[in-house]
Symmetry: C2
Subunit: 156 residues, 2 copies
DNA sequence: TATCAATGTGTGTATATACTTATATTAAAG
DNA sequence: CTTTAATATAAGTATATACACACATTGATA
């Protein structure tokens, strides 16, 4: 039916409804806020929440190439390439040419393992705080829904 | 009990469990993937998903200052300041000094309204696709959970 | 084997994000 | 009314993110 005659009030109402219903907006907003909590928690280690996640992914796929790592993270390979460089500069991972000399294989360093060990209880702290404030059940459902959502993009 | 004797297998298992349970990681992963879908949908308008959200927020708070807008978005004011500049360069919003000359008041332009009108059905398309693939009920629960999560940071 | 297509990464460019610091303006104290 | 504290924003710096493109390497084909 078009919007040709939308006045200020109509636009305001449209904005309100869209903000309430938009999955992307609410996902991003929650993400912004939550990541600050993680960043705060890991701050004593000089680590960001995103870097903790990535280091965890590296150790779970030790020696994997960029492209192989990017897949399960749902991340562009070029993005991952840059993020890995950050961990490398911190001395947490090493990057080595594979047998296939196009590939760069990523491995965690001893220092990386050490940081991960110190980070784990900090992560646990955030996790428990969330479970406490939102309830275990709600967290469980949220995780399921998020995984279903990610699953939709499996092929891409 | 410490991790002093963690071997490769233990680390791999730790990584797997953490990846499964971490709210931040799964939130971010879903966010990354989903935002690409929005970006694709809005591409004909030269708009990103984030920019659509922001433009919607502007029109819902027309004439608000940066700080007033940042609050409901859960965004840093400095971040919002930069994001607004992008919309301004596209001619979608105007920035004007307020009576309090420290404030910059943001308003949508006619061009901005026009783009929003064209964007709305594209947004609706994504929304319906999600509802179709995940189910209305699941989307509803997900939105509720995300809002509860954001609510935790209300004071900050 | 020489050529060409496919693959794996990195770089250029743009945006999103936050924290810290600088600047300007208002409000409060004296 | 002057000094000082509080507030609003922007700019500096760093990271996260993606897309398009360039480059190198491998694999396939003629």
């Amino acid at each position: 039916m078009g919007f040709s005659n939308l006045d200020q009030e109509d636009l305001k109402e449209l904005s309100r409804r869209t903000g309430q219903a938009c999955v992307g907006f609410n996902l991003r907003k929650a993400s912004r806020l939550l990541m600050r909590l993680y960043d705060e928690a890991f701050e004593p280690l000089g680590l960001k929440g995103t870097q903790f996640s990535l280091l965890m992914a590296v150790v779970g796929n030790n020696g994997a190439a960029i492209g192989e790592l990017a897949q399960p993270l749902g991340m562009e390979r070029s993005t991952l390439s840059r993020n890995i460089t950050v961990l490398q500069k911190k001395g947490l991972v090493t990057v080595e040419e594979g047998e296939d000399r196009r590939q760069q294989r990523i491995s965690i360093t001893d220092s990386g393992v050490s940081v991960l060990q110190k980070a784990q209880p900090l992560w646990q702290g955030v996790q428990e705080r969330l479970a406490c404030e939102l309830g275990e059940e709600r967290i469980k459902n949220l995780l399921e829904d998020l995984k279903s959502l990610s699953q939709l993009f499996k092929g891409k």
